[in-house]
Amino acid sequence: MHSLHDLHQARYDGEVRRASLLLGSATRSQSTAQEMAHDVVADAFCEVIRRWDSIENPEAYLSRTVLHGCQRAAKRRRREPAATAAELEQSRLGLSARLDLDQPDELLDAVQQLPWKQRAVVVMKFYEDLTEREIAERMDIRPGSVGPTLNRAMKKLRAAVGEPERLPASDQKAEEQS
Protein backbone atom coordinates (compact mmCIF):
# COMPACT_ATOMS: atom_id res chain seq x y z
CA MET A 1 0.00 0.00 0.00
CA HIS A 2 1.85 3.04 -1.28
CA SER A 3 -0.28 5.91 -0.14
CA LEU A 4 -3.12 6.93 2.08
CA HIS A 5 -5.24 7.22 -1.01
CA ASP A 6 -4.53 3.60 -1.93
CA LEU A 7 -5.30 2.46 1.59
CA HIS A 8 -8.53 4.40 1.64
CA GLN A 9 -9.61 3.07 -1.74
CA ALA A 10 -8.68 -0.49 -0.98
CA ARG A 11 -9.73 -0.90 2.59
CA TYR A 12 -12.41 1.49 3.79
CA ASP A 13 -15.45 -0.39 2.55
CA GLY A 14 -14.06 -3.73 3.58
CA GLU A 15 -13.24 -2.51 7.06
CA VAL A 16 -16.78 -1.21 7.55
CA ARG A 17 -18.22 -4.55 6.46
CA ARG A 18 -15.84 -6.41 8.74
CA ALA A 19 -16.64 -4.08 11.62
CA SER A 20 -20.36 -4.71 11.12
CA LEU A 21 -19.78 -8.43 11.46
CA LEU A 22 -17.55 -7.96 14.47
CA LEU A 23 -20.04 -5.73 16.23
CA GLY A 24 -22.59 -8.47 15.85
CA SER A 25 -25.64 -8.34 18.02
CA ALA A 26 -24.16 -5.88 20.45
CA THR A 27 -26.13 -3.09 18.86
CA ARG A 28 -29.77 -2.15 19.14
CA SER A 29 -30.45 -2.18 15.43
CA GLN A 30 -28.73 -2.73 12.16
CA SER A 31 -28.69 0.98 11.42
CA THR A 32 -27.00 1.51 14.78
CA ALA A 33 -24.52 -1.24 13.98
CA GLN A 34 -23.68 0.34 10.66
CA GLU A 35 -23.34 3.79 12.17
CA MET A 36 -21.12 2.35 14.83
CA ALA A 37 -19.08 0.46 12.27
CA HIS A 38 -18.63 3.63 10.26
CA ASP A 39 -17.55 5.51 13.38
CA VAL A 40 -15.07 2.86 14.38
CA VAL A 41 -13.52 2.69 10.93
CA ALA A 42 -13.42 6.46 10.52
CA ASP A 43 -11.72 6.81 13.89
CA ALA A 44 -9.25 4.12 12.92
CA PHE A 45 -8.48 5.86 9.65
CA CYS A 46 -7.93 9.11 11.51
CA GLU A 47 -5.49 7.33 13.76
CA VAL A 48 -3.68 5.94 10.73
CA ILE A 49 -3.57 9.38 9.11
CA ARG A 50 -2.07 10.92 12.22
CA ARG A 51 0.54 8.23 12.55
CA TRP A 52 1.19 7.59 8.88
CA ASP A 53 4.84 8.54 9.05
CA SER A 54 5.60 6.23 11.93
CA ILE A 55 3.58 3.18 10.96
CA GLU A 56 5.46 0.45 9.21
CA ASN A 57 2.45 -1.59 8.17
CA PRO A 58 -0.59 0.66 7.80
CA GLU A 59 -2.89 -2.15 6.72
CA ALA A 60 -2.13 -4.24 9.78
CA TYR A 61 -2.35 -1.20 12.02
CA LEU A 62 -5.71 -0.27 10.54
CA SER A 63 -7.12 -3.76 10.95
CA ARG A 64 -5.97 -3.98 14.50
CA THR A 65 -7.26 -0.55 15.40
CA VAL A 66 -10.66 -1.39 13.91
CA LEU A 67 -10.71 -4.63 15.85
CA HIS A 68 -9.98 -2.91 19.15
CA GLY A 69 -12.45 -0.16 18.31
CA CYS A 70 -15.18 -2.72 17.73
CA GLN A 71 -14.40 -4.42 21.00
CA ARG A 72 -14.67 -1.19 22.92
CA ALA A 73 -17.79 -0.11 21.08
CA ALA A 74 -19.50 -3.43 21.69
CA LYS A 75 -18.62 -3.32 25.35
CA ARG A 76 -19.91 0.22 25.72
CA ARG A 77 -23.12 -0.49 23.89
CA ARG A 78 -23.88 -3.60 25.90
CA ARG A 79 -24.16 -1.52 29.03
CA GLU A 80 -26.79 0.71 27.53
CA PRO A 81 -30.44 -0.23 27.71
CA ALA A 82 -32.54 -0.18 24.58
CA ALA A 83 -34.08 3.25 24.32
CA THR A 84 -37.37 2.45 22.59
CA ALA A 85 -39.66 -0.50 22.12
CA ALA A 86 -38.75 -0.59 18.44
CA GLU A 87 -35.08 -0.73 19.25
CA LEU A 88 -35.72 -3.44 21.78
CA GLU A 89 -37.57 -5.40 19.14
CA GLN A 90 -34.75 -4.88 16.67
CA SER A 91 -32.17 -5.95 19.19
CA ARG A 92 -33.88 -9.33 19.45
CA LEU A 93 -33.64 -9.99 15.75
CA GLY A 94 -30.89 -12.05 14.28
CA LEU A 95 -28.51 -10.48 11.85
CA SER A 96 -30.12 -12.19 8.88
CA ALA A 97 -33.43 -10.54 9.71
CA ARG A 98 -31.77 -7.23 10.30
CA LEU A 99 -30.10 -7.40 6.94
CA ASP A 100 -33.38 -8.42 5.37
CA LEU A 101 -31.96 -11.56 3.87
CA ASP A 102 -34.30 -13.70 1.78
CA GLN A 103 -34.52 -16.32 4.46
CA PRO A 104 -33.28 -16.59 8.04
CA ASP A 105 -29.70 -17.74 8.28
CA GLU A 106 -29.39 -19.59 11.55
CA LEU A 107 -25.64 -20.01 11.19
CA LEU A 108 -25.11 -16.31 10.69
CA ASP A 109 -27.41 -15.49 13.57
CA ALA A 110 -25.55 -17.95 15.78
CA VAL A 111 -22.25 -16.27 14.95
CA GLN A 112 -23.68 -12.98 16.09
CA GLN A 113 -24.59 -14.47 19.43
CA LEU A 114 -21.08 -15.68 20.19
CA PRO A 115 -19.06 -13.92 22.88
CA TRP A 116 -16.78 -11.24 21.57
CA LYS A 117 -13.56 -13.21 21.42
CA GLN A 118 -15.11 -16.23 19.76
CA ARG A 119 -17.01 -14.09 17.28
CA ALA A 120 -13.87 -12.18 16.37
CA VAL A 121 -11.93 -15.38 15.80
CA VAL A 122 -14.71 -16.85 13.64
CA VAL A 123 -14.99 -13.69 11.54
CA MET A 124 -11.25 -13.51 11.04
CA LYS A 125 -11.00 -17.21 10.24
CA PHE A 126 -13.96 -17.64 7.92
CA TYR A 127 -14.54 -14.15 6.57
CA GLU A 128 -10.99 -12.96 6.25
CA ASP A 129 -9.32 -16.36 5.86
CA LEU A 130 -6.56 -15.48 8.29
CA THR A 131 -4.28 -18.10 9.76
CA GLU A 132 -4.29 -18.75 13.48
CA ARG A 133 -0.97 -16.96 13.82
CA GLU A 134 -2.32 -13.93 12.00
CA ILE A 135 -5.40 -13.95 14.18
CA ALA A 136 -3.28 -14.15 17.31
CA GLU A 137 -1.13 -11.23 16.19
CA ARG A 138 -4.11 -9.10 15.38
CA MET A 139 -5.91 -9.89 18.63
CA ASP A 140 -2.73 -9.70 20.66
CA ILE A 141 -3.26 -13.12 22.16
CA ARG A 142 -1.15 -16.22 22.27
CA PRO A 143 -1.26 -18.28 19.05
CA GLY A 144 -2.03 -21.33 21.13
CA SER A 145 -5.27 -19.87 22.40
CA VAL A 146 -6.75 -19.27 18.95
CA GLY A 147 -7.45 -22.95 18.27
CA PRO A 148 -9.27 -23.62 21.55
CA THR A 149 -11.28 -20.45 21.15
CA LEU A 150 -12.24 -21.44 17.63
CA ASN A 151 -13.17 -24.92 18.82
CA ARG A 152 -15.46 -23.52 21.47
CA ALA A 153 -17.06 -21.25 18.94
CA MET A 154 -17.60 -24.07 16.47
CA LYS A 155 -19.08 -26.21 19.20
CA LYS A 156 -21.64 -23.52 19.88
CA LEU A 157 -22.35 -23.06 16.21
CA ARG A 158 -22.86 -26.79 15.77
CA ALA A 159 -25.28 -26.80 18.66
CA ALA A 160 -27.10 -23.80 17.25
CA VAL A 161 -27.73 -25.45 13.89
CA GLY A 162 -28.49 -28.84 15.40
CA GLU A 163 -25.44 -30.58 14.03
CA PRO A 164 -24.26 -33.56 16.09
CA GLU A 165 -21.04 -33.40 18.02
CA ARG A 166 -17.98 -34.40 16.08
CA LEU A 167 -16.40 -37.59 17.33
CA PRO A 168 -12.73 -37.66 18.14
CA ALA A 169 -10.62 -39.13 15.32
CA SER A 170 -10.01 -42.39 17.18
CA ASP A 171 -13.73 -42.90 17.75
CA GLN A 172 -14.49 -42.08 14.14
CA LYS A 173 -12.08 -44.78 13.00
CA ALA A 174 -13.59 -47.35 15.31
CA GLU A 175 -17.05 -46.47 14.10
CA GLU A 176 -16.02 -46.84 10.49
CA GLN A 177 -14.46 -50.24 11.18
CA SER A 178 -17.56 -51.48 12.93
Binding site: V16, S54, T65, H68, R79, V111, R158
Partner: protein, 397 residues
Protein backbone atom coordinates in the same frame (compact mmCIF):
# COMPACT_ATOMS: atom_id res chain seq x y z
CA UNK B 1 -18.65 -28.78 11.85
CA UNK B 2 -18.47 -30.31 8.42
CA UNK B 3 -16.59 -28.75 5.57
CA UNK B 4 -19.91 -28.03 3.90
CA UNK B 5 -21.06 -26.20 6.98
CA UNK B 6 -17.81 -24.28 7.13
CA UNK B 7 -18.26 -23.25 3.53
CA UNK B 8 -21.81 -22.32 4.33
CA UNK B 9 -20.52 -20.19 7.17
CA UNK B 10 -18.08 -18.47 4.83
CA UNK B 11 -20.87 -17.79 2.36
CA UNK B 12 -23.16 -16.47 5.11
CA UNK B 13 -20.55 -14.06 6.37
CA UNK B 14 -19.73 -12.88 2.87
CA UNK B 15 -23.40 -12.42 2.09
CA UNK B 16 -24.00 -10.51 5.31
CA UNK B 17 -21.00 -8.31 4.67
CA UNK B 18 -22.21 -7.51 1.17
CA UNK B 19 -25.54 -6.37 2.57
CA UNK B 20 -23.91 -3.76 4.73
CA UNK B 21 -24.41 -0.33 3.29
CA UNK B 22 -21.19 1.61 3.05
CA UNK B 23 -21.01 5.29 2.41
CA UNK B 24 -17.35 5.98 2.71
CA UNK B 25 -16.28 9.52 3.47
CA UNK B 26 -13.68 10.90 1.16
CA UNK B 27 -10.07 10.83 2.15
CA UNK B 28 -10.14 14.61 2.39
CA UNK B 29 -12.98 14.41 4.90
CA UNK B 30 -11.06 11.89 6.95
CA UNK B 31 -7.93 14.01 6.84
CA UNK B 32 -9.91 17.00 7.98
CA UNK B 33 -11.40 14.98 10.81
CA UNK B 34 -7.99 13.66 11.77
CA UNK B 35 -6.60 17.16 11.87
CA UNK B 36 -9.57 18.47 13.83
CA UNK B 37 -9.26 15.76 16.42
CA UNK B 38 -5.49 15.66 16.56
CA UNK B 39 -3.70 16.30 19.77
CA UNK B 40 -1.01 18.88 19.26
CA UNK B 41 2.14 16.94 19.74
CA UNK B 42 4.81 19.57 19.35
CA UNK B 43 4.19 21.33 22.69
CA UNK B 44 4.27 17.99 24.40
CA UNK B 45 7.51 17.09 22.74
CA UNK B 46 9.09 20.49 22.95
CA UNK B 47 8.86 21.11 26.63
CA UNK B 48 5.75 20.02 28.32
CA UNK B 49 7.56 19.54 31.58
CA UNK B 50 8.53 23.18 31.91
CA UNK B 51 6.34 25.20 34.27
CA UNK B 52 6.53 28.25 32.04
CA UNK B 53 4.80 26.30 29.32
CA UNK B 54 1.73 25.71 31.40
CA UNK B 55 -0.27 28.79 30.53
CA UNK B 56 -0.05 28.60 26.74
CA UNK B 57 -0.53 24.90 26.83
CA UNK B 58 -3.65 25.15 28.87
CA UNK B 59 -5.33 27.25 26.23
CA UNK B 60 -5.00 24.96 23.31
CA UNK B 61 -3.85 21.64 24.47
CA UNK B 62 -5.81 18.50 23.90
CA UNK B 63 -5.75 16.04 26.72
CA UNK B 64 -4.48 12.60 26.17
CA UNK B 65 -3.95 10.50 29.18
CA UNK B 66 -4.46 10.61 32.83
CA UNK B 67 -4.67 14.12 34.22
CA UNK B 68 -3.49 14.02 37.75
CA UNK B 69 -4.34 16.85 40.05
CA UNK B 70 -1.50 17.40 42.40
CA UNK B 71 -3.87 18.58 45.06
CA UNK B 72 -5.31 15.11 45.23
CA UNK B 73 -2.05 13.42 45.87
CA UNK B 74 -0.97 14.93 49.11
CA UNK B 75 -1.51 12.45 51.90
CA UNK B 76 -2.54 15.24 54.23
CA UNK B 77 -5.20 16.60 51.93
CA UNK B 78 -8.51 15.82 53.63
CA UNK B 79 -10.49 16.39 50.46
CA UNK B 80 -8.50 14.11 48.29
CA UNK B 81 -10.49 11.42 46.62
CA UNK B 82 -7.92 8.84 47.43
CA UNK B 83 -10.15 6.03 48.34
CA UNK B 84 -8.23 3.05 49.45
CA UNK B 85 -4.92 1.45 50.06
CA UNK B 86 -5.17 -1.64 48.02
CA UNK B 87 -1.69 -2.96 47.57
CA UNK B 88 -0.18 -5.73 49.62
CA UNK B 89 2.28 -4.58 52.18
CA UNK B 90 5.68 -4.22 50.64
CA UNK B 91 8.19 -6.67 51.89
CA UNK B 92 11.35 -8.12 50.59
CA UNK B 93 10.49 -10.94 48.24
CA UNK B 94 10.73 -14.14 50.25
CA UNK B 95 13.13 -16.77 49.13
CA UNK B 96 11.41 -19.68 47.46
CA UNK B 97 11.84 -23.16 48.75
CA UNK B 98 11.35 -25.43 45.78
CA UNK B 99 12.47 -23.40 42.82
CA UNK B 100 15.79 -24.63 41.41
CA UNK B 101 18.75 -22.62 42.57
CA UNK B 102 19.45 -21.38 39.08
CA UNK B 103 16.04 -19.79 39.04
CA UNK B 104 16.62 -17.69 42.12
CA UNK B 105 17.41 -14.03 41.80
CA UNK B 106 21.00 -13.05 42.35
CA UNK B 107 21.28 -11.59 45.84
CA UNK B 108 24.02 -9.09 45.15
CA UNK B 109 25.23 -8.99 41.57
CA UNK B 110 22.93 -6.67 39.73
CA UNK B 111 24.45 -5.31 36.56
CA UNK B 112 21.59 -2.99 35.76
CA UNK B 113 21.90 -1.12 39.06
CA UNK B 114 24.90 0.86 37.97
CA UNK B 115 25.35 4.32 39.45
CA UNK B 116 24.57 6.80 36.75
CA UNK B 117 27.24 9.07 38.07
CA UNK B 118 29.90 6.42 37.80
CA UNK B 119 30.44 4.31 34.81
CA UNK B 120 28.01 4.96 32.03
CA UNK B 121 25.00 2.73 32.00
CA UNK B 122 24.94 0.06 29.36
CA UNK B 123 22.63 1.06 26.55
CA UNK B 124 19.17 -0.35 26.98
CA UNK B 125 18.63 -3.47 25.00
CA UNK B 126 16.14 -3.21 22.23
CA UNK B 127 12.84 -4.64 23.27
CA UNK B 128 11.44 -7.06 20.72
CA UNK B 129 8.72 -5.35 18.77
CA UNK B 130 5.45 -6.85 17.72
CA UNK B 131 5.15 -7.19 13.96
CA UNK B 132 2.15 -4.92 14.14
CA UNK B 133 2.87 -1.67 15.97
CA UNK B 134 0.88 -1.06 19.09
CA UNK B 135 -1.52 1.86 18.84
CA UNK B 136 0.30 3.43 21.76
CA UNK B 137 3.00 2.48 24.15
CA UNK B 138 4.26 3.70 27.47
CA UNK B 139 7.10 5.56 25.83
CA UNK B 140 4.87 7.47 23.46
CA UNK B 141 5.66 11.04 24.41
CA UNK B 142 2.48 12.36 22.87
CA UNK B 143 0.35 11.27 25.72
CA UNK B 144 2.00 13.45 28.33
CA UNK B 145 0.28 16.80 28.37
CA UNK B 146 -0.01 19.59 30.89
CA UNK B 147 -3.40 20.96 31.69
CA UNK B 148 -4.40 23.57 34.19
CA UNK B 149 -6.80 22.63 36.91
CA UNK B 150 -6.66 20.22 39.75
CA UNK B 151 -8.53 17.35 38.26
CA UNK B 152 -7.87 13.79 37.57
CA UNK B 153 -8.87 12.36 34.27
CA UNK B 154 -8.25 8.71 33.90
CA UNK B 155 -7.90 7.14 30.54
CA UNK B 156 -7.79 3.58 29.40
CA UNK B 157 -8.47 1.45 26.40
CA UNK B 158 -12.07 1.29 27.47
CA UNK B 159 -12.56 5.03 27.38
CA UNK B 160 -12.18 7.93 29.73
CA UNK B 161 -13.34 8.88 33.13
CA UNK B 162 -12.94 11.98 35.14
CA UNK B 163 -12.55 12.58 38.77
CA UNK B 164 -13.35 15.74 40.62
CA UNK B 165 -11.12 16.31 43.61
CA UNK B 166 -13.71 17.63 46.02
CA UNK B 167 -16.04 14.70 45.66
CA UNK B 168 -15.80 11.38 47.33
CA UNK B 169 -17.56 9.44 44.63
CA UNK B 170 -14.65 8.22 42.66
CA UNK B 171 -14.75 7.86 38.91
CA UNK B 172 -17.45 10.44 38.40
CA UNK B 173 -18.10 10.96 34.73
CA UNK B 174 -19.53 14.20 33.54
CA UNK B 175 -18.45 17.73 32.88
CA UNK B 176 -15.86 19.58 34.87
CA UNK B 177 -14.48 23.03 34.37
CA UNK B 178 -10.84 23.67 33.82
CA UNK B 179 -9.00 26.82 34.79
CA UNK B 180 -8.52 27.67 31.18
CA UNK B 181 -12.24 28.17 30.68
CA UNK B 182 -12.62 24.96 28.84
CA UNK B 183 -14.38 21.81 29.83
CA UNK B 184 -14.00 18.16 29.55
CA UNK B 185 -17.04 16.21 28.63
CA UNK B 186 -17.48 12.50 28.48
CA UNK B 187 -20.22 10.50 26.94
CA UNK B 188 -20.61 8.03 29.75
CA UNK B 189 -17.69 5.73 29.35
CA UNK B 190 -16.90 7.05 25.93
CA UNK B 191 -14.17 9.28 24.80
CA UNK B 192 -13.68 12.62 26.46
CA UNK B 193 -13.74 15.78 24.48
CA UNK B 194 -12.17 19.11 25.17
CA UNK B 195 -14.91 21.67 24.78
CA UNK B 196 -15.40 25.37 24.73
CA UNK B 197 -17.35 26.46 27.77
CA UNK B 198 -20.27 28.74 27.06
CA UNK B 199 -21.72 30.17 30.30
CA UNK B 200 -25.19 30.16 28.81
CA UNK B 201 -25.36 26.75 27.24
CA UNK B 202 -22.56 24.91 28.93
CA UNK B 203 -19.92 22.96 27.07
CA UNK B 204 -19.87 23.41 23.35
CA UNK B 205 -18.33 20.41 21.83
CA UNK B 206 -16.28 19.19 20.31
CA UNK B 207 -13.25 21.22 19.67
CA UNK B 208 -10.90 18.37 20.21
CA UNK B 209 -11.63 14.73 20.71
CA UNK B 210 -9.36 12.67 22.83
CA UNK B 211 -8.12 9.39 21.52
CA UNK B 212 -8.54 6.21 23.42
CA UNK B 213 -5.16 4.64 22.86
CA UNK B 214 -3.17 6.97 25.03
CA UNK B 215 -3.27 6.11 28.68
CA UNK B 216 -0.77 8.38 30.32
CA UNK B 217 -0.16 11.06 32.89
CA UNK B 218 -0.47 14.79 32.70
CA UNK B 219 0.35 17.11 35.55
CA UNK B 220 -1.04 20.58 35.97
CA UNK B 221 -0.51 23.66 38.08
CA UNK B 222 2.88 22.79 39.50
CA UNK B 223 6.16 24.64 39.72
CA UNK B 224 8.42 21.62 39.65
CA UNK B 225 9.53 19.23 37.00
CA UNK B 226 7.29 16.16 37.11
CA UNK B 227 9.85 14.18 35.20
CA UNK B 228 13.20 15.08 36.66
CA UNK B 229 14.67 11.87 35.34
CA UNK B 230 13.67 9.61 32.47
CA UNK B 231 12.97 5.93 32.58
CA UNK B 232 14.00 3.43 29.97
CA UNK B 233 12.53 0.08 29.07
CA UNK B 234 15.10 -2.65 28.86
CA UNK B 235 15.00 -6.27 27.82
CA UNK B 236 14.33 -8.71 30.66
CA UNK B 237 17.34 -10.43 32.13
CA UNK B 238 17.34 -13.81 33.85
CA UNK B 239 17.44 -12.15 37.27
CA UNK B 240 14.24 -10.27 36.48
CA UNK B 241 12.44 -13.38 35.35
CA UNK B 242 13.68 -15.25 38.40
CA UNK B 243 12.39 -12.50 40.65
CA UNK B 244 8.91 -12.98 39.22
CA UNK B 245 9.23 -16.73 39.42
CA UNK B 246 10.11 -16.46 43.09
CA UNK B 247 6.95 -14.49 43.73
CA UNK B 248 4.86 -17.03 41.84
CA UNK B 249 6.39 -19.74 43.99
CA UNK B 250 5.54 -17.83 47.13
CA UNK B 251 2.02 -17.16 45.92
CA UNK B 252 1.29 -20.87 45.31
CA UNK B 253 1.27 -20.66 41.54
CA UNK B 254 0.50 -24.18 40.25
CA UNK B 255 3.58 -24.24 38.04
CA UNK B 256 6.03 -21.52 38.99
CA UNK B 257 8.92 -23.17 37.19
CA UNK B 258 7.10 -23.78 33.93
CA UNK B 259 5.05 -20.61 33.84
CA UNK B 260 5.71 -18.35 30.86
CA UNK B 261 7.16 -15.08 32.14
CA UNK B 262 7.76 -12.18 29.81
CA UNK B 263 8.01 -9.15 32.07
CA UNK B 264 8.13 -5.50 31.23
CA UNK B 265 11.32 -4.13 32.78
CA UNK B 266 12.01 -0.46 33.33
CA UNK B 267 15.08 1.19 34.73
CA UNK B 268 14.85 4.54 36.47
CA UNK B 269 16.38 6.53 39.30
CA UNK B 270 13.67 6.61 41.93
CA UNK B 271 15.21 8.91 44.52
CA UNK B 272 17.62 10.88 42.36
CA UNK B 273 20.60 9.48 44.21
CA UNK B 274 22.38 8.38 41.05
CA UNK B 275 21.55 4.72 41.55
CA UNK B 276 19.02 3.16 39.26
CA UNK B 277 16.10 1.06 40.41
CA UNK B 278 14.47 -1.57 38.25
CA UNK B 279 10.72 -2.07 38.00
CA UNK B 280 9.51 -5.49 36.87
CA UNK B 281 5.90 -5.93 35.84
CA UNK B 282 4.71 -9.32 34.68
CA UNK B 283 1.27 -10.48 33.62
CA UNK B 284 0.56 -14.00 32.46
CA UNK B 285 -2.26 -16.42 31.85
CA UNK B 286 -5.59 -15.62 30.27
CA UNK B 287 -8.26 -13.24 31.42
CA UNK B 288 -11.71 -12.65 30.09
CA UNK B 289 -14.44 -10.63 31.72
CA UNK B 290 -14.66 -11.76 35.32
CA UNK B 291 -12.66 -14.87 34.80
CA UNK B 292 -9.14 -16.06 34.56
CA UNK B 293 -7.51 -19.41 33.97
CA UNK B 294 -5.74 -21.15 36.80
CA UNK B 295 -2.19 -19.90 36.84
CA UNK B 296 -3.05 -16.41 35.64
CA UNK B 297 -0.92 -13.93 37.49
CA UNK B 298 0.04 -10.32 37.85
CA UNK B 299 3.25 -9.48 39.65
CA UNK B 300 5.12 -6.26 40.29
CA UNK B 301 8.57 -6.17 41.80
CA UNK B 302 10.91 -3.26 42.44
CA UNK B 303 14.60 -4.08 42.65
CA UNK B 304 16.48 -1.61 44.82
CA UNK B 305 19.99 -1.37 46.09
CA UNK B 306 19.72 -1.05 49.86
CA UNK B 307 22.82 -0.98 52.01
CA UNK B 308 24.79 -2.35 49.11
CA UNK B 309 22.50 -5.31 48.59
CA UNK B 310 19.96 -5.75 45.85
CA UNK B 311 16.55 -6.41 47.32
CA UNK B 312 13.31 -7.29 45.63
CA UNK B 313 10.37 -5.30 46.93
CA UNK B 314 7.06 -6.90 46.19
CA UNK B 315 4.66 -4.27 44.89
CA UNK B 316 1.72 -6.48 44.10
CA UNK B 317 0.99 -10.10 43.39
CA UNK B 318 -2.20 -11.85 42.40
CA UNK B 319 -2.24 -15.47 41.29
CA UNK B 320 -5.29 -17.48 40.29
CA UNK B 321 -4.73 -20.71 42.11
CA UNK B 322 -8.05 -22.42 42.33
CA UNK B 323 -11.33 -23.01 40.63
CA UNK B 324 -14.12 -20.99 42.14
CA UNK B 325 -17.52 -21.05 40.52
CA UNK B 326 -17.76 -17.30 40.54
CA UNK B 327 -20.43 -17.11 37.88
CA UNK B 328 -22.85 -19.75 39.07
CA UNK B 329 -25.21 -17.03 40.11
CA UNK B 330 -24.42 -14.72 37.21
CA UNK B 331 -26.11 -16.29 34.21
CA UNK B 332 -26.64 -12.91 32.66
CA UNK B 333 -22.92 -12.39 32.15
CA UNK B 334 -22.52 -13.16 28.46
CA UNK B 335 -18.84 -13.60 27.74
CA UNK B 336 -17.90 -16.85 29.33
CA UNK B 337 -15.43 -19.34 28.04
CA UNK B 338 -15.55 -22.84 29.34
CA UNK B 339 -11.92 -22.97 30.35
CA UNK B 340 -11.97 -19.63 32.11
CA UNK B 341 -13.06 -21.11 35.32
CA UNK B 342 -11.82 -19.07 38.14
CA UNK B 343 -11.87 -15.77 39.85
CA UNK B 344 -11.05 -12.18 39.19
CA UNK B 345 -7.40 -11.54 38.52
CA UNK B 346 -6.89 -7.97 37.45
CA UNK B 347 -4.30 -7.05 34.89
CA UNK B 348 -1.84 -4.42 36.00
CA UNK B 349 0.16 -2.39 33.58
CA UNK B 350 2.46 0.55 33.78
CA UNK B 351 1.14 3.96 32.84
CA UNK B 352 4.08 6.15 33.73
CA UNK B 353 6.87 6.90 36.18
CA UNK B 354 6.78 10.54 37.26
CA UNK B 355 7.26 12.81 40.24
CA UNK B 356 3.73 13.80 41.12
CA UNK B 357 4.20 15.63 44.40
CA UNK B 358 7.42 17.50 43.80
CA UNK B 359 9.50 15.73 46.41
CA UNK B 360 12.08 14.73 43.85
CA UNK B 361 11.15 11.06 44.10
CA UNK B 362 9.48 9.26 41.27
CA UNK B 363 6.06 7.70 41.66
CA UNK B 364 4.88 4.71 39.70
CA UNK B 365 1.45 5.04 38.11
CA UNK B 366 -0.09 1.75 37.12
CA UNK B 367 -3.47 0.80 35.77
CA UNK B 368 -5.39 -2.09 37.24
CA UNK B 369 -7.80 -3.39 34.62
CA UNK B 370 -10.62 -5.66 35.56
CA UNK B 371 -13.55 -6.20 33.22
CA UNK B 372 -15.48 -2.95 33.24
CA UNK B 373 -13.51 -1.27 35.96
CA UNK B 374 -10.21 0.42 35.88
CA UNK B 375 -8.20 1.59 38.85
CA UNK B 376 -5.18 3.84 38.77
CA UNK B 377 -2.62 2.99 41.37
CA UNK B 378 0.00 5.52 42.37
CA UNK B 379 2.90 4.06 44.27
CA UNK B 380 4.74 6.61 46.35
CA UNK B 381 8.08 5.63 47.85
CA UNK B 382 9.87 7.22 50.74
CA UNK B 383 13.57 7.40 51.31
CA UNK B 384 13.67 4.58 53.78
CA UNK B 385 13.51 0.93 53.03
CA UNK B 386 9.84 0.93 53.92
CA UNK B 387 7.31 1.45 51.23
CA UNK B 388 5.66 1.95 48.96
CA UNK B 389 2.60 3.83 49.97
CA UNK B 390 -0.15 3.19 47.52
CA UNK B 391 -2.97 5.46 46.50
CA UNK B 392 -5.59 4.04 44.26
CA UNK B 393 -8.10 5.99 42.26
CA UNK B 394 -11.02 4.66 40.35
CA UNK B 395 -13.50 1.89 40.56
CA UNK B 396 -12.76 -1.76 40.87
CA UNK B 397 -11.10 -4.35 43.04
Amino acid sequence: MTTERENELRDSLQQAARRVEVQAPSLAELQHRAAATAVPSSPARAGWMRPQMLAPLALGVALIGVVVGIAMLGPSDPDASVVTVNEPEATATPQPTAVPQSALPEPTAEPELSPTTGEPDPPPTAVPQSPVPEPATADDSEHHIFVHGAYIVTGSDAGWRQQVPDRNDAATAGVVSLDSGESLSTDGWGEAELCSLDPQVGPVKPTVSLGTFHPGVAVSGVDFDPRPRPFVEVAPEPAHIDAVRSVLQEQDHPDPVGAAIDPQVLRFDLEGDGVDEVLILANGGERQAYLSTIGTYSVGVLRRLIDGVVQNKLLHATVTTGNEPYLEDRPEVPEISEDLVSVVNPLRRLIDIVDLNGDGHMEIVAEVVYFESSVYSILEFDTSTVGPYSWTLGCGP
